[in-house]
């Protein structure tokens, strides 16, 4: 499955202190991706609101950004989801808080609810800014999963568009792949050799994925591969945090129930404490 470029970018906007920054980020991205921007506002349509949006957008309108503003009343989650479906949005941008209160976490904030249900790719921004902060380092997951190939391809496409220089592909290796338990010197030696072998296997798998990506996307980029033995979903977030990545690109989750939130795994870990801006490729 080949990935599709982002033709339409959607953003959910409310009148919060972050409004300007969010809109700026979305507009800049739309320009870089050469795509259309759709502003989705949950609420009544008034001239006043429209004017505010247009003022904020004006510097980008001058650069020929095509923008559509949609007003709709209703439940924020439903509105944003249906509008982005109707308008064929490829990438949905949402502002999010870095850490959530426990209550919010289990009930789900709007951004997280949308993320869980969305059928298009979602970008969660934790620190949008009016000034452009160049995106220098992208971390992408390299899980052994059918979706991974598409995700890595998207990451290269994005870093090509954004002009970032470094991509780290993190292969999270589940603990249970290492069948031997470390108990003494002998088992430790066994485990070390086993891990070495798994690392090699993973690295060559990633290599073959990269080889399939168009050269023009990979040429100017330094590619690092970092195998990590750890909890899937959590370690990559932790890694993105300590390696100070500007963007974390992840596979979309396969299924989501309340159970997954009580015993979080994969993407839920990342949603629980966003380490940086997160892009979930659908």
């Amino acid at each position: 499955m080949s990935f599709k470029p982002f033709k339409t970018v959607g953003i959910g906007v409310t009148f919060s202190p972050n409004l300007k920054a969010n809109v700026y980020e979305a507009s800049r991205l739309s320009l870089m991706f050469n795509s259309k921007l759709i502003l989705i506002h949950v609420g009544e349509e008034t001239q006043e609101k429209k004017d505010t949006f247009t003022t904020i957008l004006s510097p980008f309108l001058n650069q020929n950004l095509s923008v559509e503003i949609i007003f709709k009343v209703g439940n924020p989650v439903d509105v944003i989801l249906t509008v982005s479906q109707n308008k064929n949005v490829d990438l949905l941008i949402l502002g999010a808080l870095k850490k959530e209160k426990i209550v919010n976490y289990y009930l789900g904030s709007i951004a997280r609810k949308i993320t869980r249900q969305s059928t298009c790719s979602v970008l969660l921004l934790i620190n949008p800014s009016v000034e452009r902060i160049p995106c220098q380092h992208i971390v992408v997951n390299g899980l052994k999963d059918p979706k991974t190939e598409q995700t890595i391809e998207s990451a290269f496409y994005i870093s090509h568009c954004l002009g970032s220089k470094l991509i780290t592909i993190v292969e999270e290796i589940k603990q249970d792949e290492v069948a031997v338990k470390v108990e003494d010197d002998k088992s430790l030696r066994k485990v070390t050799i086993l891990k070495e072998r798994i690392k090699l296997r993973e690295t060559s798998r990633i290599k073959s994925i990269i080889e399939h990506i168009p050269k023009k996307h990979t040429n100017a980029i330094t590619i690092k591969s970092q195998p990590i033995f750890g909890k899937q979903g959590y370690s990559i977030g932790h890694y993105a945090q300590i390696s100070r990545a500007d963007l974390l690109v992840m596979n979309a989750p396969s299924k989501m129930t309340l159970w997954d939130r009580i015993f979080p795994h994969d993407i839920e870990h990342i949603l629980a404490e966003l380490p940086t801006d997160v892009l979930i490729i659908q």
Binding site: P134, K181, E183, D184, D185, H238, I242
Partner: protein, 732 residues
Amino acid sequence: MSPKKPTIVDFLKTLPKNIFSGFVVSLIALPLGLGLAMASDAPPIAGIIAAVVGGLMVSVLGGSHVTITGPGNGLVGVLLVAITTLGLESAYAAIIFSGVLMAILGFLRLGKLSDFFPSSAIQGMLAAIGLIILGKQFHIMLAHRIERADTIDYLLEIPFTINDALHYEKEGLILAALAGLISFIIMVFYPKIRNKYLQLIPAPMWIVILSIAFSYYFELFAHEANPIAKNYMISGIPEFKEIIAQLPTVNFGKIGQFSFWSSVLALTLIASIESLLSIKAVDKLDPEKRRSNVNRDLKALGLATIGSGFLGGLNVVTVIARSSVNVNNNGSNRSANFFHAIFLIIFIVLFSSQLTRIPLPALMAILVFTGYKLASPESIKKIFSIGKEQVIIFLVTLFVTLKVGLISGILSGVLITIIIHIIINKSLGLFARNILKPNVLMYQETDADGNYYISVKHFCSFLNYYKLKNKLDAVQENQDVIVDFSLCEFVDHTVMENLNSYRDLFLKRGGHLEVIGLDMHDTDSKHPFALRRLLPVPNIIKNNLTRRQTSIEELAENYNLKYLHKKQKETLFLNDFIFFRTKNINHINNQLFTKNDVINIFDIEFSEGEFIAKEVVRTTMLHISLNKTIPEFTLDREGFLEKIYAFAGFKDVPIQNQVDFSNRFYLLGEDEEAITRFFNEDLVHFFESNPYYHVESNGNGILVFGKERLASIKEIKVLFDFGKRLKQVVTS
């Protein structure tokens, strides 16, 4: 790299050493076994049976290498309770069941059990056990047998017993008390006497030999009965034949009772904790640097305990004192444990009647000394120096253990620790929210060094220490490990202490473990193991130096450098560097200078972006000030910073005839001609053949740095060396 497999030849070669070591250990094991059993109100031979069964079975089945097994002093308190409440025959049943539970723990791989208890609580529990032993046996040592309901009463009566002992009138009692006192003096002063021949026989054995000799003197030369009162002599050491012939009846009748199972649980818990702590401590002593398989040891100890229980013996645990004697006498594998058991059998076969000539007070003096060592003022003082909160944990555990029991004691210790941690952090959420999260990340850095980097998030205390331990255990001890706590808000004493023992272990085995990222954390004592909490606002006046800072201080001394740990806001010398154009320098600290101030290494904290986008970075850099002008340039490998430098009018400078260098490095600068001249062959070769750093010049200074995190001491040394040689190449 893998060590060679032990062969039969090696085994035979080391056999004489191990037989000798087993012999020396058996000399201690004999009196200790008798004493521990009697202190638990069991027949004296029960201790020997435990040591023999333990030695024979664990040496065959166990997973550790130089440990010695037998009756443990930690169990005295629990066994005493079990025997007094259940009766001896049911107590044997409890011992058998605790053996079963221990083996199950082993099969479930619960060898990490002891990691779930805060170390101050364990200290408190051990001290309480020491006081239980000391309190009860002190009176017998002075030939003044009393029965009290409560352990604390025993302790409170010590002065009265001393007073009574000074006014004994019967010769038998006076001599018994004297035997106790002399034995105690031997125990205390033996380690201080450094005489090769005297030290051949361990102190407890001297006591045994001297008291038997005393008794023979009266029998053979004075032709009198032993003047020591009869009821203060060891009674009932059966002959070897009798032990085999008369197996004790084990009574499983009380299996339905609550008190039975609480005894079983207490026995299992204490036996496991004592064994696990001992194995951990002995592993550090092992000259061959082997790692013990604790789960296998637990299984073996469990099986041995079952066997010992059926034969009328006590619980089998791994014991620290006897194991250390084994190591000191060059015991090198499990056969030493086996031979210690064999020698014990020989002693019982040959000398069982002689053993009844030992006066009880003499034997109890050995136990009083062990009890004193467990609850020694030094160990209590150590806890005081770590911090007030540790003292509270320690004392609560100690008193609850004495007043109620061992299980309640250790549980209260855990509870009070959790409460104190919550109060110190003023947050329950920090723990509640993050306890289940896999907060430890470890990976091998992909650069040439291949260091293992471990980052810990949120909090790290005894509650989730096992996660960190699991990662550390997966690293071979000859590797380099860096543990970073900068994302961690709270680190407790248990973790600090355990990390310190890991540090020792790694050092001993040729590796290196270093803790970074604690400089911003606050603590209220000067002890290196004190718990540490991340401060919301970095404090201006540092309370004490972290381990890393003291190491830097040492490094400064060794390298003849000046060291300044104070934070410094004046960083004018860094301002011209383009790297800092988009960054705010908060401060630099931990500065190292060469004598002429030319080279300066420092930790720096700077931030990128503002307000919500603000990211704070701490890293270690090296600055060389030059007294000549060189072209401005930046040398980088990843091309990371290309963009920023483009603003400054920098462009890629190719160096002619050095294609390889140009391919590997991004050399950027404005004045292409000057740079090409400056990068002569020497300099190019220098960069090609040395570890990679980001190098930048502002015309009259050079800035060198590596990773975007603080450097470990080892990395500082490498950086310093790099800087020194770079300076030579540049100025030559």
